[in-house]
């Protein structure tokens, strides 16, 4: 039995965890859910389905909050976003039902592992995003004309209007289905995958990609959340604390992000995320009883492997940066 004070304190702790998740999610561009699920399950031992439910609901709040600012600046392409939502919403339905199957068959340990793997792989596009260069301009293909994928926005940093043509609409839809699936399965916005779909598959500029994906995340998460509700994956007390906390954290994160000029600080955040990713994988192995690792050993393994992940990512970014430099130099000649 919890006393009144204990209940208030518990609410407060989850609320603070939400702020932390929102802050980190905004700073790294991964979104609050990706941080919230590991924090709630590892540090609070909250049941995984409740953590996933609370996380997806909070994702709607941050998506809507930040999208309201971006759509006003007219960078996000609402048209392309809604077109791609056909796939993400369908994917979210399949993903949510898959989670229900896993939950009903004692397979939640696999969700832990998958979560960790997805978190680690999400770091790659997020790190790449820090470079934020424009894609090489390409002529449109038939999907550009048929689905009206051209657009323009005013880039404040470059001080010019950028015109762009989206291509390979069908490839974008395929990646988006997968993004929706992951969102419904793991309770995250899966912004990294959405960015991959628009940046890599459709050749859209990074600014358009990130802002449009932000606005799409809310619609995908709304689909998943309404099924979660009926499945009973949302605990109102937890969801209330995280929705308020994550929203506040994301708001503070967005403000801070503008002020941070030293991009190296983001490496600290990336290392926290990779730590959480490895922890989740180990947690899953523990839950499966395939290996029993004492929690203190788990922490050491996580720290060790996250150092490795960060070093690899750092070299990857250095190589990318060199490629960008070489390209701009050869263009200048």
């Amino acid at each position: 039995m919890l006393t009144e004070i204990q209940a208030i304190l518990e609410f407060f702790y989850i609320f603070v965890a939400g702020i932390f998740a929102g802050l980190l999610g905004a700073m790294t561009g991964l979104g609050g859910g990706t941080v919230l699920v590991p924090v709630l399950t590892i540090f609070f031992q909250i049941p995984l389905i409740f953590a996933i439910g609370a996380s997806l609901i909070s994702t709607i709040a941050t998506s809507a909050g930040s999208a309201s600012a971006y759509t006003k600046q007219k960078i996000a392409n609402v048209k392309i976003g809604i077109g791609l939502e056909m796939s993400t919403t369908a994917g979210a339905i399949v993903g949510t039902l898959t989670l229900a199957y896993f939950n009903g068959h004692d397979l939640l340990w696999a969700i832990y592992i998958l979560f960790g793997v997805v978190l680690l792989f999400s770091l790659i596009p997020s790190v790449k995003k820090t470079l934020a260069e424009l894609p090489p301009p390409m002529d449109g293909d038939w999907t550009t004309r048929f689905f009206q994928l051209h657009g323009s926005y005013y880039d404040q940093r470059l001080k010019k209007t950028v015109d762009y043509n989206g291509i390979r609409w069908w490839a974008g839809e395929i990646v988006m289905f997968f993004a929706g699936f992951i969102s419904g399965l793991l309770g995250i916005g899966s912004g990294a995958l959405k960015v991959l779909g628009m940046d890599w598959a459709m050749n859209l500029p990074m600014k358009v990609t990130t802002t449009t994906s932000n606005f799409m995340i809310g619609i995908t998460a709304a689909t998943g959340s309404s099924i979660y509700w009926h499945l009973g994956y949302i605990q109102p007390f937890i969801a209330a604390a995280t929705a308020i906390g994550v929203l506040l954290g994301a708001f503070l994160g967005a403000k801070l992000l503008v002020k941070i000029t030293n991009s190296n600080i983001r490496w600290l955040f990336f290392s926290i995320l990779s730590f959480l990713g490895v922890e989740m994988i180990l947690e899953g192995l523990n839950a499966n009883h395939s290996v029993i690792i004492p929690s203190i050993v788990m922490v050491f393994i996580s720290i060790g492997s996250s150092v490795m992940v960060i070093v690899l990512l750092w070299f990857y970014v250095r190589k990318l940066r060199k490629d960008v430099l070489r390209r701009t130099r050869s263009e200048g000649k």
Binding site: A64, S68, A92, F146, P236, A240
Partner: protein
Amino acid sequence: MKSFDQESVTSVILKSGVLLSLFLIVLGTLMIFIMKHADNLTLSQIADIYSTTIINSSQISLGDLLSGSLSLDGIYLISLGLWVLIFTPISVVFVGIIDFELQKNYRYVIMALVVLFNLFFAMLVIG
């Protein structure tokens, strides 16, 4: 031809939806702590975050959301707030449909309708 500014309307809807839901969730939380019970559960039952059976969303009847909230029941206020949050991005799709319709962009009207179909399929059929 654009007859209204879709982006600005979208932005206002998103912002007001989030603020309204935030207000309801905060009010609901305060009511739980003040009344020390809600929806026939005690505070310590509501705050039991480790049990998946004492309270979860499947036990909260959506038909009672409004009446429960009007009687200032904390659980129902939070639930209503969460549902306002879920409907916030959905309303953006509605605005999209109106905008595409006014522009006679029927290809996109159909695509937005597919999105809405998926959303309501998730809510009504699967639920």
